[in-house]
């Protein structure tokens, strides 16, 4: 479970990204973070990954206050999470297989485990037959599938996605969302910051709306816009 308690985050340049934000995300939930650009959605994901730390309040993960972690402890926190970005962030000089393998090498997995696990995950995202290709030989949707495979290969309990469909056409975006839903159905918590109205509306998941650093809406089975048509 992830819990934000009265979280404040002000950046060094004085920008207030979050102000007294409080919410809870249970294990296995699928949550959309919505709101205008600069509202504070990405800050929420950064605080969960401890890429940034709060300037006030607490963030708990399974009951542990992660704002108190030392720099040396942060990598071990991140091993519980997978992350997917809008720009995929694949290594251009490595094959699909190597991009996924890389994530397992980093956490010190054995070669045997890597050989067993990577094909399974590539199969899950439907890219087994493109394992030897380089990212530039793939379409945007396929590249995002590789990024997704890399994010889940270490079996994280939380998957964080920052605009994962931002660079994809609607059809491909829906295919990627199907994959997210399948991953979620296996028990992985998903936190997704997005501007994709259609997707949020179709998926009927929990929606947390952030505006000017404040949580202005937290709705189960919500749509991108609320009944008043905000955003």
């Amino acid at each position: 479970m992830i819990e934000f308690v009265d979280v404040n985050k002000t950046y060094e340049n004085g920008t207030v990204a979050l102000a007294s934000a409080s919410f809870k995300i249970e294990n296995g939930e699928f949550v959309f973070l919505v709101g205008p650009s600069g509202a504070g959605k990405t800050t929420v994901t950064k605080l969960v990954m401890r890429e940034e730390n709060v300037t006030g309040g607490h963030v708990y993960l399974d009951g542990n206050d992660i704002t108190l972690l030392t720099q040396k402890e942060i990598p071990y926190l991140r091993r519980k999470m997978g992350v997917v970005f809008q720009d995929f962030r694949l290594l251009d000089d490595r094959t699909v297989y190597e991009n996924v393998e890389f994530a397992m090498q980093i956490i010190g997995a054995s070669r045997r485990d890597i050989r067993r696990r990577v094909p399974v995950v590539l199969n899950e995202v439907g890219l087994n037959y493109k394992a030897k290709m380089l990212p530039r030989q793939l379409s945007g949707g396929e590249q995002q599938r590789v990024a997704l495979a890399r994010a889940i290969v270490n079996r994280p309990s939380i998957l964080i996605a920052d605009e994962p469909t931002g660079n994809l056409n609607p059809k491909t975006a829906m295919e990627i969302m199907d994959l997210f839903e399948r991953i979620n159905s296996m028990g992985t918590t998903i936190i997704m910051a997005t501007h994709a109205k259609d997707i949020v509306d179709i998926m009927h998941k929990r929606v947390i709306e952030v505006e000017d650093g404040a949580i202005v809406r937290d709705e189960q089975g919500g749509a991108y816009t609320n009944v008043d048509g905000q955003i």
């Binding site: 720099q71 040396k72 071990y76 991140r78 000089d93 010190g108 890399r150 270490n154």
Partner: protein, 297 residues
């Protein structure tokens, strides 16, 4: 570090060197150049020490006794001299020995000029003294001057002072130059590795998100730096060995007793250790410096 992780880090380091071929080569030659200059100063220091030691061995004080010194006085003075702390050896050179020496050496072929001197030997008895520490020559000479029966003492104080001052100057200069060279080499290799790190910032960034520890990210770069340093050291050792052997041969041809270089087999192990150590340290420190910025994610 587990074997698997070391293998991974080593293969990454090898790939990085290959991927950044030109930059790696430039770093390698830079380190080799710095090490060669470092080696020149190390060899210079070693040889100056060697030559100083040779000069020290050949530096003698000669203690001349008064003409009327009898056998007992000569023995007593010998005992007093040998009892001194800084005296390594004192060999008696009698007036008869000196006359023989003069006949054989200075007056060779014209010995008749020295005929008759056996009965009225104009020379004095003396002790040829070798000191343990020539830097304390003047103190030892002062002590000797207080011995009853001294006529005069010949010493090479000016020459000794000159040799010592020169050798000290060379040592000090070498230390300063070696320190500067090490810093220069570290700055250069840290810039080279900074380029590698910059090229791989995306990878480092992803590694941080996935949960790689700083140590895990650093190790391949450290190995890369050390490998470049090590290759630079091997190149520097090969070139300086060739140079040293050539110079030694040239010096031998000159046949100057005091200016013979230390044999190669004596300098080579020292050079090898210094080069390998300095090469690895330069590579490692250079890598660590260049990585700091990119680990902050």
């Amino acid at each position: 570090m587990s074997m698997g992780r070391f293998k991974y880090s080593f293969s990454q380091a090898r790939k990085n060197i290959w991927r950044n071929g030109l930059m790696s080569l430039a770093s390698l030659f830079t380190i080799a150049s710095c090490l060669i200059i470092l080696g020149i100063f190390t060899m210079l220091t070693m040889n100056v020490n060697h030559i100083t030691a040779e000069i020290k061995n050949q530096c003698e004080i000669e203690f001349f006794m008064k003409d009327d010194a009898n056998e007992q006085t000569v023995t007593r003075i010998g005992e007093q001299i040998r009892a001194m702390e800084n005296v390594k050896e004192a060999v008696l050179f009698t007036k008869a020995d000196r006359l023989d020496y003069a006949k054989k050496d200075a007056f060779e072929g014209r010995e008749e000029l020295l005929e008759g001197y056996e009965k009225d030997n104009p020379f004095s008895d003396s002790y040829k003294i070798t000191l343990k520490d020539i830097s304390k020559t003047s103190e030892t000479v002062s002590q000797m001057e207080a011995i009853d029966g001294v006529d005069h003492i010949n010493n090479q104080q000016d020459f000794v002072d000159l040799v010592l001052a020169f050798s000290n100057m060379i040592k000090k200069c070498s230390i300063v130059i070696m320190a500067v060279l090490l810093i220069v080499a570290i700055v250069i290799i840290s810039n080279a590795i900074k380029l590698t790190v910059f090229n791989r910032r995306k990878e480092i960034n992803i590694m941080k998100y996935i949960g790689a520890t700083d140590g895990f990210i650093r190790v391949p770069f450290i190995i890369e730096g050390m490998l470049i340093g090590l290759l630079g050291a091997v190149l520097a050792f090969a070139l300086s060995s060739w140079g040293y052997v050539a110079l030694s041969g040239y010096m031998d041809k000159l046949q100057m007793d005091l200016l013979t270089l230390l044999p190669y087999y004596e300098t080579a192990p020292v050079m090898a250790v210094i080069f390998i150590f300095a090469g690895c340290v330069i590579g490692m420190v250079g890598s660590l410096i260049s990585m700091r910025k990119y680990l902050r994610v």
